[in-house]
Every structure is written in C-alpha cells, then in structure tokens.
C-alpha cells in the first residue's frame, strides 16, 4: 500500500529547484517515500497530484459502521498474511411475502440462538427484511417488527417510497440495501438523509462497479456491496472478485464490505445453506444472510467464524475455570492445565476420551502453552494459587487429587507448598497418554505417597518463616564461593566499544543439568558452561534461574558471585521472573566490565522491569511486545517509544535500553522474518541499541542447519544495525560471522588473525 518513490516522482513538478533542500526532485521523492521528509516541504505539487497522493495512502477497504458493529476494513486476502480485522455478521431474513406467523416464528428462533463461546457472545446480529413489492405501509410494519428485536437491520428494498416508510420506523443501525443501477440516485438521497449505510446491488459485477462509481461521484462512500448473484457459483465469483480487486489491484471502487444473501441462493435447503455459509465465512462475506438460524447451524458456523477471525499472532484463550468432564462432580479428581485454547481442546478431548470423571482446572497463563508459560513465569505456583483462590476451588471440590502437566513436574514441590491441602501428582508428559493414565488410575500411587508425606509433615513442628534482608540472606543463605581454576579468564569488556555484544545463553534453568546445579548450589556444572562460553568469546553471560519463586534472591546472589569471582568480574544479564532476585543479584554485582543487564522488560505485564533497571542503574532489555507478538512494526514502534519514554523519565540514558524486536521462529513464521529485520533498522535509525534471542529463529530445525541459519541471520541483522544478541557462543560459525561483520562495520581494525582475537 505504501507509495514508492518513483510513483511520487511521476506526479512531482520535476523542476529540481532545490528549495526543499534536496538536490533533485527525484531525491526529494525518495525521501518522502521513506517518510524522512514531509511532502509539504515542496510547494509546487499540483492540487490534483496532492489529491491523488492522499487518496493512495487511504485504506484499500473502508470500514463501515452499523450501530455497534464494524464491517470491512480488511487488508489481506488470507488470514496468515496478517490478520482479518472484522468478523462477518450473521443475519436472518424475513420477507413481506411471508405469513405473519412465519415471521414471528423466524424472529423468535433467531433470538433463541444466544450463547457464549470462549469469551465471545454468539447471536444473530442482524435481521434482514426483504421487500417483495409490498405497499410502503406493509413493509414498514414488517420492519417495525424486526426492529423490535433490538438487532441491527438490513433493509432489502428497491422501492424508494417503501425505503422512506421503513426508515421512518426504525433506528440508525441499519443498512438500506436498496441501490441498483436503476434507482441509485434517489435511493442514495434517502440513505444519506437518514444517515445510514447504503447497500448496492446489480445484476452483474460490471454494473455494480459502475453504480458504485456513480454513487462515489455524488459523494456517497458509506456503502456496502450486495454481491449476491443468481447462483452460489456466481455469488462466490462476485465476492472473490470484489475483494481481490480492492486489495490486490488496489482499486478502491470495490473497497467496501459485502453482503451475501443465502436465503436467495441456498434454495431453502438448510444443510446446503450451512455448507455455503461456512464457505462465505472464509471467502469474504461481511454479512451472511440466512433464511433461518437454528442451534444446529449456529454451533459450527459461529465456531468456524471465531477460529477464522482469530488474530494469528494473539493466542486464543479459554476462560480460567473448572470444567467438569464426563459427569465429574465434587468428588472427582482434578487435572490442571493452561488457558491456551489449543492446549485446552487437546487436553479436554483426551480426558473426555478416557471416559473417567475429572474436573479440568484451567489456570490463567496469558494464553501460552505449558512450557512457554512456565519459562515466562506465567504458570507458577503463585498463579495457580491465585486461580484456586479466585475460583474458590477448595470449597467447590472435595476430592484433593490435583494432577499437574508432566512437563512442569519441577513445580510439584512449590505447588504442594502453596496448596498444602492437596495431593499434587505429576501427570503424563503428553496429552495422548491421558486416556490410559486416567483409565488405569495411574495417579493413585502418587496420591497415596503425597498423602503420607503430608501426614508426616503435619506431625512435624512448623518452622517460623521470616523474611530476611538481602544482607542477612547473603550472610546466612549464600554458600561461600570457591575459586576454581577453569583454565580461562575473562578478557575484559569496554562498555564504550562499538563491537557487537554477545550474551551467552547457556546458563539456563531449562537445561536439566543447570536446573539441578542451581537447586543444589553445585558450582561445577555452572562454572563449566561459563568457562566454555567465555573461552568462545562471549561478552556477557546470561543467568536464567527460572521463575525461582521460593529462593530467588539467595540463588541469584550466589550465581552472580560465583561467576564474577571466578571469571574476572564477567558482566552478566540477570534473567528471572522474580524481580526481588534481580534486585538481590545487582546488590552483589561488580561493574568493572559493564553494568548488569535486566532481562527483560516488555510493554505489558513486565513494564516494571524498566523501573527496576532504572532504580539500580542497570541496562534493561526492552521487549517490543505487550502480551503476545506485536502485530506489525507500527505496534513494535509504539511499544519501543513507550518504553523509551518511561526509561528516560526515570533517569535512564537511551543507551541503557536495549530493544528486542522478538525474534520469531522460521518454521511457522517465515513470512514475518523481514518484518523483524525492518524493526531492527527502525531501532537503529532512532539511534537505539538492540538485542534479542536470535537463535529462536532456527528453533526446531535440524542441528546441522541451525548454525548456518543463525550465522546468516546475525549477518543480516548486523547490517540492519543490531548491536547485541543473546546467543550460544559455542557456535563457532556464528561467532566467526559476528567477528567478520564487526570487521566490515569497521568496529574492529582488520588483521590477518582477526578471528583469533
């Protein structure tokens, strides 16, 4: 949609007067296209040229409002290209040709369909009122009846007098679907006078096009196109051609929402109507008019619509609550999982297949899958406890068996502590194992064990828990640091240097060896990984201690001291969902080789990390997303600006905010990679530093391919201005690529042995 420099140049005065400050008109137009200069800097563009340029920056498809509903405004033909914006509405049709009793029955049936599905109200949003050559008074009477339902209306009426009579008896949330090649002028006046959108219909698509042109010439652009043809086949052709012409050929004449009337083309066959409606939900109807809507039709169609109009970049969430399955009651065991819709459907489906009564408890995890949510701190013993409290589960359910996903077995102890009344047991790793697990009651042994353990604990004397200060923790809970000669020393880092900053990602609690070492405060595995990364040339080391809800502060202090005292004060990035732990880590941090990095803030629930970094004079990684992936670079830029402003207002310098575009996995989001690269350029153009988990791009790719993908991407990113990345420094190809890029970027003086430096 964006204008190219050459398109603007075609309309420019071409006088090369230099008054705008650019040497030539061509240079000026190129700058305008990039958004670097305002078009108004040139006083010589003709009125006509300006109008053309303004028009070509308008959206390709208009958004038309009908009462509270929005129609159209789409920017892509397929949902995976970006997202679909406004879901289609469903209407039920009544006609002057029907008996009053039939009309009443249809309206009553349409109103009956009204339910909620995954947070969305499902109902017949509109009533379509067709006029079959009736008297104005008769039509108005029918419209009145339809308006009494409180739903928005589509008035299909080609007679001007009837239209006037109808509009006099209903509100403003109406589409007057009445313009044809024969009556468009008069009908447009009626619609404009009433302040309602005008529907346009013609026998063929060419006449439809001409009629829209005529209406636009008279100034009416509050239009909806009725693309219904004589047959379903013709209707599909119209719907597709209209949408494609608007979005692909960029011809705004067809840039309006569309109406498809299945009451006409489905010939009274309900099942055929269901099939056609499913097709038109996917293929470009903004309003699908049905001859009737029963629950049998509504359940699949609204489910489909909800899926199709889900933003591909925002996870679909189900409500956090208790879902009793297979007739479960208060005496049935409980199984817990996250609110990511796909996880819910998978787990509930398998549990249903088991045939065993079970209460499925869905806990709030921001719509992430189990492992992702756990790693991001969105699924923790605290969030689970919160769900249990908010839903009052202890009082609603008497059974005390709680099965947690096998993938987060590590949380068992913490959950058991937060929910001492429950017997927490670890379920299977995969949902497909659930039917057998439930049928064979595999959890029973673990429940018995948990029960026994609780009984033993109850007997023991309860320890008094008192919150200790960081100094007290340091003195009492942090083991003495042993200095071990690992055969490498950190070579030092000049924070002013322009060379690329690598943040080694290998000390991460998701690795079982590290998780164990952290739990046991066993230095060896951690020192080993640190030494390898330092030897490979890492600038910073990331220390990810996981959610660390229980002992975060003392664990982080131990890790920071362990690494810095052993490796010449290697600078560190402190990475955990526990903010207190970061604060504690900074308390013992030595700044010789650079400030600590807080990993990380985002523009959503983790915005407070910027405050934390500001208060502790630390660098902060600022992830340009709120909850979920930013939908485009406009959103990334908005988050970037907001976080920058917050940091600066708290006294940070812009150099201490490292913006993260959020690297996306190629397998799955291949078409978004260039956008990430452009975001990096955007940060760089603003003079900002940037970083991110670059190796995420190759997640799931074969082992031998990953270094190639990572190295190639880092080169492309460094070209765009990326200043740092969280990477695996043991990847030689990647590190050599980074060193080479630093040569080309003139950050390091070349010598034959630059790779060894």
């Amino acid at each position: 949609m964006a204008l190219k420099g050459l398109d603007i140049f075609k309309l420019s005065p071409k006088k090369n007067c230099k008054e705008c400050g650019s040497p030539t008109c061509m240079a000026f137009c190129m700058k305008v296209a990039q958004g670097a200069v305002e078009l108004s800097k040139c006083p010589y563009f003709s009125e006509e040229a300006l109008a053309t340029l303004n028009a070509s920056t308008a959206p390709l498809m208009k958004t038309i409002s009908v009462g509270e509903h929005k129609l159209g405004g789409e920017t892509v033909l397929f949902r995976h290209e970006k997202t679909l914006v406004n879901k289609n509405l469903f209407a039920v049709s009544v006609c002057t040709c029907m008996e009053a009793a039939t009309v009443d029955a249809k309206l009553a049936e349409a109103k009956k369909v009204d339910y909620e599905r995954i947070g969305e109200r499902m109902y017949v949003e509109m009533i379509h009122v067709a006029n079959n050559q009736a008297d104005p008074a008769v039509y108005a009477e029918l419209v009145k009846k339809a308006a009494a339902t409180g739903r928005a209306l589509v008035l299909e009426c080609w007679d001007v007098e009837c239209a006037k009579a109808a509009l006099a008896v209903c509100g403003k949330d109406v589409i007057l679907d009445g313009a044809t090649p024969a009556n468009w002028e008069a009908m447009s006046e009626v619609a404009t006078a009433a302040g309602v959108a005008l529907g346009v219909w013609a026998e063929n698509i060419s006449d439809l096009y001409d009629t829209v042109k005529n209406l636009e010439a008279k100034g009416n652009t509050n239009l909806v196109l009725d693309v219904t043809g004589a047959t379903a086949k013709e209707t599909l052709a119209n719907a597709v051609n209209v949408r494609r012409t608007a979005l692909k050929q960029e011809d705004r004449t067809f840039g309006y929402p569309s109406i498809v009337n299945l009451a006409k083309v489905a010939k009274g066959d309900d099942r055929l109507q269901t099939a056609l409606a499913a097709m038109f939900v996917e293929k470009y109807a903004s309003i699908v008019v049905m001859s009737n809507m029963s629950y049998a039709q509504a359940l699949p169609l609204y489910g489909l619509r909800q899926n199709i109009f889900t933003d591909p970049q925002k996870p679909m969430k189900v409500e956090a609550k208790i879902y009793p399955l297979n007739g479960a009651d208060e005496n049935s065991p409980c199984a817990l999982t996250v609110d990511f819709a796909l996880t819910y459907f998978l787990v509930s489906g398998e549990l249903e297949r088991s045939g065993q009564p079970v209460n499925l408890i869905i806990t709030d995890a921001s719509g992430m899958s189990v492992l992702t949510a756990w790693a991001a701190g969105k699924l923790s013993s605290s969030t689970i406890k919160k769900t249990f409290d908010e839903l009052d589960i202890a009082n609603k359910i008497k059974n005390r068996t709680l099965i947690i996903p096998g993938k987060v077995a590590v949380m068992k102890g913490e959950i058991q502590e937060k929910l001492p009344e429950w017997n927490v047991v670890v379920g299977p790793l995969e949902a497909v194992q659930l039917p057998k697990y439930m049928k064979d009651k595999e959890y029973e042994a673990a429940v018995a064990a948990a029960e026994a353990e609780r009984a033993a604990k109850a007997g023991a004397v309860k320890e008094e828990v008192k919150e200790l200060s960081f100094d007290e923790l340091l003195a009492t809970r942090v083991p003495k640091i042993e200095i071990v000669d690992m055969g490498v020393s950190y070579k030092g880092h000049n924070p002013e240097s322009k060379t690329f900053v690598t943040i080694g990602e290998r000390i991460h609690c998701i690795a079982p060896a590290i998780k164990k070492a952290m739990a046991e405060r066993d230095p060896a595995p951690i020192l080993e990984r640190a030494a390898a990364q330092i030897k490979a040339g890492a600038t910073y080391l990331d220390v990810n201690i996981g959610p660390a809800e229980k002992d975060g502060p003392e664990l982080m202090m131990w890790a920071v001291k362990l690494l810095q005292e052993n490796f010449n004060n290697v600078p560190l990035a402190l990475d955990t969902a526990n903010m207190k732990a970061i604060e504690a880590g900074i308390k013992v941090y030595n700044r010789t080789n650079g400030k600590p990095i807080v990993n990380s803030a985002d523009a959503g629930s983790r915005i407070g990390y910027i405050d934390l970094a500001a208060a502790n004079d630390a660098i902060c990684i600022a992830l340009c997303s709120a909850d979920g992936i930013a939908k485009d670079n406009a959103e990334r830029e908005m988050h970037c600006d907001n976080m920058l402003e917050r940091g600066l207002s708290l006294g940070m310098t812009s150099d201490d905010l490292w913006f993260d575009p959020l690297f996306l996995v190629v397998k799955g989001m291949q078409d978004k990679q260039m956008e990430v690269l452009e975001a990096i350029k955007m940060f760089s153009d603003k003079g900002l530093k940037s970083t991110g988990g670059l190796s995420n791009n190759s997640n799931g790719a074969p082992k031998h391919v990953r270094p190639i993908m990572d190295a190639t991407l880092v080169a492309m990113c460094m070209m765009q201005g990326l200043t740092s990345a969280i990477v695996n420094p043991n990847d030689l190809r990647l590190m050599e690529t980074i060193k080479s890029c630093d040569i080309f970027k003139n950050h390091v003086l070349y010598s034959d042995s630059y790779l060894d430096m």
Partner: protein, 313 residues
C-alpha cells in the same frame, strides 16, 4: 463493460492422482486455481466425497446411521450399502479397533475384512489406519499386499513410519499413500521430500495436513490449507502439489456439538442434526480451503456436500 475482473490461474498445478480401477476409478486434484475459483479457470476434477465404513460401526447410535445400515453385520455389508449411496465416490475403511491401546484387533482380521470389502465393491477404496505408527506400518504392509492391483490409498504415512509404509505400500505393492502431518506446512513439505527420497513417485502421494472440526483450533487447519495451496500454485512448489484429503469423519463425530445428548443440552435440539451440521460445515470449510476430497460418515452429509460441490463447479 467497464469492469472486467482479472482472472488469476496459476502456472503451478495440483497433481492428478487416480484411485481405484476400471470405470469406477476417480481422479483427485489436477486443477491450477484455488478451490471453486471457476471464474479463474475450469476445475479439472470436481472434489470427491468418500463414505466412512468403520470397523466399530456397530457402536454408532445415531438413528439415521442405524437405519441406513440396518441389517448389515460386516464391513463388506456396509460398504456395499454405502457404495450405492448417490454421491459416494469412494469407500474409506476406518480400522479404529486395530489400535493397540484400544481393542487391538489383529492385522490378519483387519486384512480379511478389507479383502472381503474389496471383493464386494467396485468403487475405489481408501484405508484409514488406527494412528498407532507401528501398528499402522504393519497393517498397511500386509493389507497393501492383500489388495494388490486395486489401486488403494493408505492413510497415512507419518514421520515415524514413512520408510516402512512408503516402501511396502507404494514401492512393493504399487498402491497410493497418504502423508500425514499436523497443521505444519514445513513438516508437510519435509515429509513429501522424504517420501520422494525413498523413490516414491510424487503422483502416488495424497496429503493429510491435519484438519480439525470447526471451532476446535480450525484456524490452524485453515491457514495451513491456504498456505499449502498458495505455495503449490503461486510458487509452483512441487513438494506441496499433492492433492489433499480431509478425514472429516475423524474430526467431527467426537466433539461436544456432535455427542452431547438432548437431555444435557436441551437448547441445542436434535443431536443427529447437530452432528450432520458439524460434518457439513467442516467439510465445506475444508473444501473451500483446499481439500480435494473429504471422507464423511453420515449419508445426509454426503448428499449436502455433493449438492454444495455441484452448485459451485
């Protein structure tokens, strides 16, 4: 005429795959336009509709299905009955009970059933496995041998068993094979490449891209269908030009809309009509996205979807 729509046929084309033999053989795929885009170019072969015959069909309790198959006791009986149904293009034998985690019926019993069906009917046969990768590999190997010469499609080879399945079904016995992945265009392409690496002719491959019932994460299926079709047609990606078969029967009959009794959901009305409606809407969505064939359970769904196809072709 002031406005002439731009037509957009593609240079890429979906492979045309023949199933069955003789005058009842069918061809799926072959088109170079998006589904039902007849205004871009003629659709070479209309989408095909198969009827599911399950080896646990005696547990089906929906009245319409009970009535339709009244008097049938074997898979062959049911297949014969289904073959005569107007709009039935092929028969899909669903060996649910072979699952080792379920009834664990023996391969020999299943093969005998398939053989009996093949002797009784003339329309093409598609075999659906039990989804257990080891059992399916064994089942498909023996069954493809027993049904040699019938040009049967076996659904499906997966990443875990494609070597055995591809080698036995296609290379040894000259049948057709499905390639199944779960809503992932990259995996779908990779599995097709691996099959090609085994020397399986791409024209012997049909894809199952991992569909779902509408309302149940269908956005993944919809986008995978869209993306695969666009890659095949727009980018002429030969490794994604295989026709697609959607096993709608496996997706829709287990979801709540189809199973909840009228006592449990009084507002929802007739359970059978709900299940048919789920099957019809899901099949229509699959066909609109890019499926070249669908497998359905209910005769009423078959009639509705054939009418839908006829209206659009």
């Amino acid at each position: 005429m002031s406005f002439v729509p731009k037509t957009a046929p593609f240079s890429g084309k979906i492979n045309a795959v023949t199933l069955g033999t003789g005058d009842k053989a069918i061809v799926i795929g072959g088109q170079n336009v998006l589904p039902f885009y007849t205004f871009d170019a003629a659709i070479e072969n209309a989408p095909k509709v198969g009827v599911e015959i399950s080896d646990v069909a005696d547990t089906w309790d929906v009245p319409g299905l009970v009535d339709f198959y009244a008097g049938c006791t074997t898979m062959a009986d049911r297949a014969k009955k289904a073959e005569e149904l107007p709009g039935c293009d092929f028969i899909a034998l669903n060996f649910v009970s072979a699952d080792p985690n379920g009834a664990n019926r023996s391969v020999e019993e299943c093969v005998a059933d398939a053989k009996a069906v093949a002797d009784a009917i003339a329309k093409p046969i598609v075999v659906l496995g039990c989804k257990n990768v080891e059992k399916d590999a064994d089942l498909f190997t023996k069954m493809s041998e027993a049904l040699a010469g019938k040009n049967v499609l076996f659904m499906s080879a997966k990443n875990e068993n494609y070597k055995t399945v591809g080698a036995s079904v296609v290379l040894a016995n000259g049948q057709k094979v499905g390639a199944e992945t779960a809503d992932d265009i990259n995996l779908a392409k990779q599995l097709n490449i691996m099959l090609k690496g085994l020397n399986v002719n791409p024209e012997a491959v049909v894809m199952d891209i991992g569909t779902a019932a509408v309302g149940y994460g269908y956005e993944y299926a919809a986008s995978t269908l869209d993306r695969i079709r666009l890659a095949a047609l727009q980018q002429s990606d030969a490794d994604l030009q295989m026709p697609i078969m959607a096993l709608v029967c496996n997706d829709v009959w287990g979801v709540k809309e189809s199973t909840a009794s009228e006592e449990d959901e009084p507002a929802w009305g007739c359970r059978e009509e709900r299940a048919i409606s789920m099957e019809v809407a899901t099949a229509a969505a699959d066909l609109t996205g890019g499926a070249d064939a669908v497998v359905l359970r209910h005769p009423a769904s078959v009639a509705a979807i054939q009418k839908f196809i006829a209206e659009l072709i």
